[in-house]
Amino acid sequence: MPMDKVFVVGDSHAIALAEGAKRLGANTGMAYLSGNDWHSGTVRFHRKLGLVAVGRPGFQKRMKEACAQLETDSLLQGDHVVLTSLGYQLGRLLPPMRRNGHGFACVSEGDPHPVVSSGFVAATVHAKRAGQIELVRKLARRRRVIVVSPPVLKRTPEDDLVRDIIGSALTGAGAELVDTRFVLPDDGVLPDAFRHEDGIHGNAEYGEFILKHVRENVLANA
C-alpha cells in the first residue's frame, strides 16, 4: 500500500507523526484532540465522518480541514493511510494506580506494600479504555487502521505491562500496532535526538523515523 496520503488522528502524539509524514512527502491531513478528551470519551464513532468529538468544535474543524487536504469527505473514505495514536494516554492510567502508593505484584521486586495484581491492572485498563478500543474496532471494520504507541520516556515494568495490555486489546480490535518500544533503537526509550523540547513528546525527526518504519515494514507487507 502506498503512503502518498496519510490521515493522522489522535492525541498530542499525533503531531509528531503528521510532521514525519510530511517530511516523507506524503499529503498529510491531521486532527488531534487532547488526550484528556480521548480518555473521557468525548470522541465518538460516526458512520459518515468516522469520528466526532462532542462539544469540541475545534476538533471537528480540524477533521474537516484534514478531509479537505486529502480531498475526501470522511476519514473512512479515500485512499489515505489512517494512522492514529489513540488508545493509550498512559498519564491518565498509571498515576492514579500509583497515587495510593500501589505497585504491581507481578512485576515489583521485594513484595512492596501495597500491590495490585496483574489481573486487576488488566481489568482497570480494559474498563478505562473500552470506549477507545471500541472506536478502533468500528474504524478497523471499515478500513485499515494503524495505531502508533506513544514513545517511552522511561521504561518500567509497570509501564511495559500496561502497554502490553493496551497493545493486545488494540490488535484484538483489528488494528495494526506499531509498538515504539520495539521500533526505537536500543532499549526502546525515546532517544534525546528524537525528543521534543517539551520533554514528553517525540519531535519531527522521531515522526519521520516512525513513518519510515510504517512505510517500509507495515505498508510494504500489505
Partner: protein
C-alpha cells in the same frame, strides 16, 4: 404476695410487654452496646455476606469505616466490585466460619505464615484456598497469589490495629478442611475452584466447642495485635444455601444458627471486650413474621437491613446527629439489595438441581 425477681423486671423482659404488645416496629431496648465511647468509634467489618451491610451503613452514617486495603484511586466501580475492594476492611472475601476467622487472625499475627496456605492451580492461573474467588480469573502466578495474600493478611492486621470495634458476622458452622494438614477452606474444593478429592477433603460441621475454640483463638490473636480492640459479634440471619451434613437444610440451618448464637452470646458474657448484637433475632425471630425475607425465603430485603441498622445505631450510644451523614435515603427502598452483596456461598445453589 411475696416479692420475687420477676416483680422488678423491665417490660422488655416479658414477651407480652416486650414483643407481643409493641409488635415488631415497636420493639425497643433490644440492644444497648456494652461498650462506652468517648468519641465516635471506628469500625472494621468482616464475616459472611450479611457483614457487608455493617460496613456500608457505617460509612453511610458518616462514621469511620476502616478500609485497610484500598483500591488505587479512580478505579472503575465494576472493577472494584469484581476484585472485592471495599467489601470488607481487608480483601478477605467472606469469612463464614469461626475456623476461617481464626486462620485470618493467625495470618494477621504473622503474615509470613501465608507461605503455608494452600494454592490451587487452574490452568496457568492460581487461586488461594482462603478466597478462591477474590479475583475473577485468579492470579498470574503462585508468587503473585502469595504476594497478594500476604498483603491482605497485613491489611487485616492493619484493620485490627486501627479499628476501635471489629464487627464479625458469623454465617456458618459447616466447612471443609484438608484431612492431613487441617487447612481450612473457604469453599468446598471443586464447587467453584480447586478439585475435590474425597481422600483429602473432609466435611466439618463445627459444633459449639469447636466454634468457641476457634473464636477464642481468633480473639487471642486479635488482642495480641490490639489489646484495646473491642469485638462485636453478630450472627447472620441468612440461611445456609446448602448443607452437606446429611440433615434437611432447614434442620441444618437451625443447628448452625443456634450454635453460632450460643457461642456469640457466651463469648460476650465471658469477655468484657466482646459484645453481641442480635441481627439474627431481628430478622429471623417470630416478631418479624419472615416479612424481611425475599420470596426465596433466604435473601434479606433492604427494609430488613434498615430495621437491623436502626436497632444497631440506636443502641450504639453514639450521637450520630453530630456526624454528617453521607446518605439521606437510608430509609427508602433504594440502595444495595441482597443481590448486590458478594456471597461466594451462593455458588452452591447451582448444584440444587443435581
Amino acid at each position: 404476695m411475696a416479692d420475687h425477681p420477676y416483680t422488678s423486671l423491665p417490660p422488655e423482659a416479658f414477651w407480652k410487654t416486650g414483643v407481643a404488645e409493641p409488635g415488631f416496629f415497636g420493639l425497643s431496648h433490644l440492644w444497648r452496646s456494652s461498650f462506652a465511647f468517648d468519641e465516635p468509634p471506628s469500625f472494621a467489618t468482616f464475616g459472611s455476606c450479611f457483614a457487608q451491610h455493617f460496613g456500608r451503613e457505617v460509612r453511610a452514617r458518616g462514621l469511620t469505616w476502616v478500609d485497610a486495603e484500598p483500591a488505587p484511586a479512580l478505579t472503575p466501580p465494576d472493577v472494584l466490585r469484581d476484585f472485592h475492594y471495599g467489601v470488607f476492611s481487608a480483601r478477605t472475601a467472606n469469612i463464614y466460619t469461626g475456623a476461617q476467622f481464626a486462620v485470618w487472625a493467625d495470618l494477621a499475627r504473622d503474615p509470613e505464615s501465608c507461605e503455608s496456605i494452600e494454592l490451587w492451580p487452574e490452568g496457568d492461573r492460581w487461586r488461594d484456598c482462603l478466597r478462591p474467588l477474590i479475583e475473577p480469573d485468579g492470579f498470574s502466578s503462585a508468587d503473585e497469589a502469595r504476594a497478594m495474600l500476604r498483603q491482605s493478611a497485613r491489611a487485616f492486621r492493619a484493620a485490627v490495629e486501627t479499628a476501635d470495634v471489629l464487627v464479625f458476622t458469623m454465617g456458618l458452622t459447616e466447612g471443609w478442611e484438608h484431612r492431613d494438614t487441617g487447612q481450612v477452606y473457604a469453599l468446598c474444593p471443586g464447587t467453584q475452584a480447586g478439585q475435590f478429592d474425597p481422600d483429602q477433603h473432609v466435611f466439618r460441621n463445627y459444633d459449639y466447642l469447636a466454634t468457641r475454640a476457634s473464636l477464642e483463638r481468633a480473639l487471642e490473636s486479635l488482642w495480641t495485635i490490639n489489646p484495646n480492640l473491642r469485638v462485636l459479634l453478630t450472627v447472620s440471619p441468612v440461611p445456609l444455601v446448602a448443607t452437606a451434613s446429611g440433615s434437611h437444610v432447614l434442620e441444618a440451618v437451625g443447628y448452625s444458627k443456634a450454635t453460632l448464637r450460643a457461642v456469640a452470646g457466651d463469648l460476650a458474657k465471658a469477655f468484657s471486650d466482646v459484645d453481641y448484637f442480635p441481627s439474627y433475632e431481628i430478622i429471623a425471630g417470630a416478631p418479624a413474621r419472615s416479612m424481611f425475607f425475599e420470596p426465596d425465603m433466604r435473601s434479606v430485603a433492604k427494609a430488613g437491613v434498615n430495621a437491623v441498622m436502626g436497632h444497631f445505631f440506636g443502641g450504639l450510644g453514639v450521637d450520630l446527629s453530630a456526624i454528617s451523614s453521607k446518605s439521606a435515603s437510608l430509609e427508602t427502598e433504594d440502595g444495595p439489595t441482597d443481590e448486590d452483596l458478594v456471597c461466594e456461598e451462593r455458588i452452591l445453589e447451582s448444584y440444587a438441581d443435581g
